[in-house]
Symmetry: C2
Subunit: 744 residues, 2 copies
């Protein structure tokens, strides 16, 4: 980092402030050359023309409506918030229309709006809503003010030459510079962090700096505030740290830190999607205005890699996996992904698979990148976007655990296995958790967040308290809870110090793909090793998931292993009682939100539970102990504001155990259609599942199907290299193999 | 009836058994002439060719697999059941392929299968499962045996001339005649009723009669068994009456009785869809083989009218309203509707709107009707199928209540208001109940049935006991429960004697469509008059529903009016307590299945409850009394087998009341998308709603919106003719109007 900073500073000094550049506008996202090319192609590129037409209609309607810059008052969802938000979106678009269509009415509209803001901003106090750790002026948080500036910088850039020098001076002195100072030096707790909030702040300041050619602001944006006066240990509204010892700040540091080398963003895809826009848009502005600094190519092209990674963090319908605080339904078809896909195509390696996503997005940016994509589509270059299995490391250097995604076939089955670091303040206490998808349908869900984003009635659209009491808790996830506590006791400071460790990842055989990882810090004195295999066996209709969780503990514990299925209970092979009155399962750590709808004993050493969801059948088959309890749960206890969904779950509870093994198969099978009322293959094909060997070195599981065929899976718990040689005798029979596992 | 019977008998006698006809095969569904035309068009009609190709692939695969006619053993969902079912479907198709493609392998396949059945049937005892009131031999109920014969008659007809006379004699003597006798004279309790079961039995016997040219069997099919020896008052498995005094039997009686003049089938669309096939297929066979009897045109073309009616009993996605015992998800795209649509097009008035449904069905029958539809589509004649508001009477003569469906615009809002008769044994105790749809999404749901059709794990796919204890109960529906009892105390014999009465129906103004009906027998001594209006007011974004329920009682009662919304609670304007432990709301009549999740008091005289479902917002605004209780419920209590969905509801409870008024608006507004996270118009536009007048003659409701605009709706409770003149003074202001209501 230090080295690069020196180099870039040096370069900047050598090149100096180019007086000619100051007149060359637009230069941020649109460039003069780009605009020429766009104008030349108008009418010849269908998707570009259609996108332009839609934007034109939208902006024309807004111009018709007139400009409103109300005195700030509301949270998100409220009028003043939504109006100011709409203003910056529309202004940016109007600026583009001015450049592309050369119609002065668009420039005049942007100019009028900017001067209305200029008149208002001079004397504007901080926003009246005091909830945020960093209040904005136009909005209740600096974050939204930064959004405003990122877009308004682009709008200003496009009409720069339409304004007189005097007009520009007024805007810059009364609006843009004070605005940039407010969200940076006046709010270092917002600006000077490693956090997606700061990325927006950095980008905002950097972009207006480029337009105004203000070197001081640009340095502040890139490298942060030297002396921010912040105290170590302070936290923001979400409980995230504001200042961590030894941490750098500014855009480049933000680019450096949260991305792993493959471009996995530590907060997860929902926030990566949100953060990608400021990262890309400012990097792009730097590429256009100061290409010599190489910001877009920074850290071995991590930004463009990140786009590809993000596209892979979605199910077959393109919806992002709701890891950590992620709202379900957010998808690769959202606006910020249009930017991501267009930029990745144009500035990257022109991957034709990106074109098929752009086709489905059905719109492009109105800049050079968008034109390039639209031309590619017009010329029939689009290829289907195919997702494969992928193992993504977490952490700046890729050494803080990761995320394994195993996909069978054309996403017929997708395992998302999480062995990441904490994920900053939006992280959940869910070490070694997983979720499972059949195409775009959730088979075993990750709950996501407890927040109704932008819905004012639900706590102003902000995080609700059940996000902490339920969504972040360990029992809310498909992973082990020990003694009804959370991982790291739910202490963020502790969780942030640790990450799980990859044991091995092997997707070389498409019919037996395996990922295995361990966690030894979540519960001190207890180590968990979880091995998950997506297996397609010719005797089975569909691929299934084998889940082996090996627990070693110094103490005697109660273990709860939940599976959050979605659907309707079909059949179980164990006895249970269903209480008439429902009571919460516990009093804290998330347990207070679960009702106990049924309680039974495991069916000896082999327990089955079948359900139907989304017109398909599923069976959980588990090697149990006869003393295991089976709990059938329903979310919704202690939820007086109805913030939680009433989703079901099944928990395998093992009492008074130390070292133990949980081995299960989650088996999708058959289908049901209410239109033809055909029920196909509604029964599990598994007759028995047993742990046939377990010691420090090896764990072996045997699956017997209804036809008597047997599958044996042995995992090496210690030596997992591809070249390691293994030998094991089970029930008098010897097995020899090399590599981390044997399947036969 | 009697007159028609005499005429048809006379005609049949005059024409006699035509010896030539006996050789003319096929004559049932395919005809010789039809087959010629089809062969001539092969390769020229894309949808026909594609349908043929699919059927060919299916049948070829089955031929490859070989014929299996296992000894009957299972309930539906089990192997023997599903295999025999598949056999008759495939045999019918193979027969068609033989005719169309003139390839003997298909005839041989059908012949071999029939002889396997012949060999088995001779000594076959009744099915070992004893649950049915009328056990079949191949299947556990005569109903399924009849399905078999309806299809196998067609198969036999198509290969009739492929067989020798000796072969035919063997099949007829050992298989078809004994089969027909078994499901008729040996099971009169099945055959000789007015019921969809009997329709299948009648059609089965009639179709094999036509193929074999057996007049005795044909008479039995058309007119029933003269002396069936059945006792009055006996019931079937579903609690339906088997014999009712004075009731006729046979196909024509079944055609006469359950259809109203517009073709509404009294059991509801789910059963109409099921019953349409035997009705149409046998009527069609009669049309082809004995057109002089005019069965297809019987009762003023009620069968073809019924197809149109059935298509109207669906939401914007084509899914049938789940009235009475209806499984959700069943739609106009199911196989039996392919028959219905093709037949209605070809034998009806060639309505081009039917072609667009056939297009979506994406297949046609392989007979003359299917060819005709495929040619219409090929020739570009298809027009969109547009559904309008419709008022359907119930009962043989259209005088037993009915069903009002009010649709605004292009199904932006659809009200289904039920004021029918009981609906035979599949009827629910839900007088004056309603459900509400926004396009294809349920806003306020009708629960449907408690049955997982054909899913063996759930009680063999049959009705579950919660169908009686919950789904049929009054509290399970969006209608009034008095003193926590069911309509007619849930006594079928009593409910069957009564029906609600239409007060008026007026859809002449597309912006104010009104239906009103009364019920005075469900609770003796208590009369309910419910008026429902779908209103589009220019000050409101979307159309809304106004619901005025006027109750007059001789006694003091507790009234419960539930609204089964689907979605997530957003905001309420009343205080409530949410218990930590959930208890059932009552002990019987359906109340035992509802948990109480929240209990509060009405917010004075105006109570609001808002929710979000399917990405849209909804608000219930109600004129309440401050002593009203508001109950928030969740289904699922006393459901140890997890047969019920965990759906929510809100109940307005009024204690110790006699005459009273419930007036509410259900207001759809706005939308939310998780992809762009835009929340639009999430607040109700209603500021207040009040009953401003109520007496015997008139009830008036005033809606005040947030901008202060007022809407007044006055309904005439007694004189509802279009010409009636009315005058009313409210708060000193006089209103004069003619017709059943005033809206201004």
């Amino acid at each position: 980092m230090q080295f690069i900073k020196v180099i870039t500073l040096l370069l900047a000094t050598l090149i100096g402030v180019n007086a000619v550049n100051a007149q060359e506008h637009p230069k941020l996202i649109l460039t003069q050359e780009g605009v020429k090319k766009i104008r030349a192609e108008l009418g010849n590129v269908p998707l570009y023309d259609a996108s332009l037409q839609r934007v034109k209609e939208e902006v024309d309607a807004e111009i018709e409506l007139g400009i409103d810059t109300p005195i700030p008052k509301d949270f998100s969802g409220g009028y003043t918030h939504e109006r100011h938000k709409r203003n910056f979106y529309v202004a940016q678009k109007a600026g583009v229309l001015y450049q592309v269509l050369e119609d002065d009415k668009y420039a005049q509209y942007v100019k009028d709006m900017l001067f209305q803001y200029e008149a208002m901003y001079k004397n504007l106090p901080p926003h009246p809503k005091e909830r945020s750790y960093a209040r904005g002026k136009l909005f209740w948080q600096c974050l939204n003010d930064s959004n405003w500036l990122v877009y308004m910088s682009q709008a200003y850039d496009t009409i720069y030459n339409y304004l007189t020098a005097d007009e520009r001076e007024i805007l810059e002195n009364n609006l843009f510079r004070p605005f940039a100072d407010y969200i940076s030096i006046e709010n270092p707790q917002f600006f000077n962090r490693i956090h997606n909030h700061s990325t927006w702040g950095n980008a905002a300041v950097g972009m207006i700096a480029l337009v105004m050619d203000d070197k001081e602001l640009l340095d502040r944006a890139l490298y942060g505030i030297e002396d921010d006066g912040l105290e170590l240990g302070a936290k923001d509204n979400d409980g995230g740290f504001i200042k961590v010892a030894g941490q750098k700040a500014g855009f480049l540091a933000n680019l450096e830190d949260p991305f792993s080398p493959e471009g996995y963003y530590t907060e997860g895809p929902y926030y990566q999607r949100y953060a990608m826009y400021p990262f890309l848009i400012f990097a792009l502005a730097m590429e256009n205005a100061k290409p010599e600094m190489g910001v877009l190519e920074y850290k071995d092209n991590v930004l463009l890699k990140g786009v590809n990674t993000l596209l892979n963090l979605a199910d077959a319908d393109g919806e992002f996996f709701p890891l950590n605080d992620g709202q379900k339904g957010m998808s690769i078809y959202t606006a910020s992904l249009v930017t991501a896909v267009d930029v990745a195509y144009h500035y990257g390696d022109k991957n034709p698979q990106l074109l098929s996503i752009a086709e489905r997005q059905n719109k492009v940016l109105l800049d050079q990148a968008g034109l390039s994509v639209a031309i590619g589509i017009r010329d029939g270059k689009a290829k289907p976007f195919v997702k494969h299995s992928i193992n993504l490391s977490d952490g700046q250097n890729g050494d803080q655990g990761g995320l394994g995604i195993l996909r069978y076939g054309n996403e017929e089955l997708t395992l998302v296995f999480k062995y990441t670091a904490q994920g900053l303040s939006h992280g959940h206490y869910d070490k070694l958790s997983f979720s499972l998808y059949e195409k775009g349908d959730e088979v075993l869900q990750d709950y996501g967040l407890v927040r109704f984003v932008n819905i004012e009635q639900k706590g102003g659209g902000n995080y609700l308290k059940e996000n902490t009491t339920w969504a972040k808790s360990t029992i809310a996830h498909n992973t082990l809870s020990v003694n009804q506590t959370k991982h790291f006791n739910g202490i963020y400071e502790v969780g942030s110090k640790h990450h799980s460790e990859l044991h091995f990842y092997d997707d070389s055989n498409k019919n037996v793909q395996v990922v295995s990882a361990s966690e030894s810090n979540a519960y001190p004195g207890t180590t968990m090793l979880r091995t998950m295999a997506v297996i397609k066996n010719p005797n089975f209709e569909k691929p299934f998931l084998l889940d082996i969780l090996k627990v070693d503990s110094e103490t005697t514990n109660q273990y709860d292993l939940p599976f959050y299925y979605l659907g309707h209970v079909l059949e179980v092979n164990f006895d249970y009682q269903s209480p008439v009155n429902l009571k919460p399962l516990g009093e804290k750590n998330g347990y207070q939100h679960l009702y106990l709808e049924g309680k039974g004993q495991a069916a000896g050493d082999f327990t089955q539970f079948a359900w139907m969801g989304n017109g398909k059948y599923y069976t959980l088959s588990s090697a149990t102990q006869s003393s295991d309890e089976i709990l059938l749960t329903r979310l919704g206890a202690n939820d007086p504001d109805f913030n939680l969904r009433r989703d079901p779950g099944i928990i395998i509870r093992r009492n008074e155990a130390k070292d133990t093994i949980f081995a299960s198969v989650i088996e999708p099978h058959g289908s049901y259609s209410p239109v033809n009322e055909l029920s196909k293959n509604s029964n599990s094909h598994i007759a028995h599942l047993a742990v046939v060997h377990d010691d420090e070195q090896y764990t072996a599981v045997k699956i017997t199907d209804l036809d008597g065929n047997q599958q044996l899976f042995i995992v090496a718990n210690q030596q997992a290299s591809q070249s390691a040689q293994h030998q094991l005798k089970i029930n008098g029979k010897s097995y020899r193999w090399s590599g981390p596992y044997l399947y036969q």
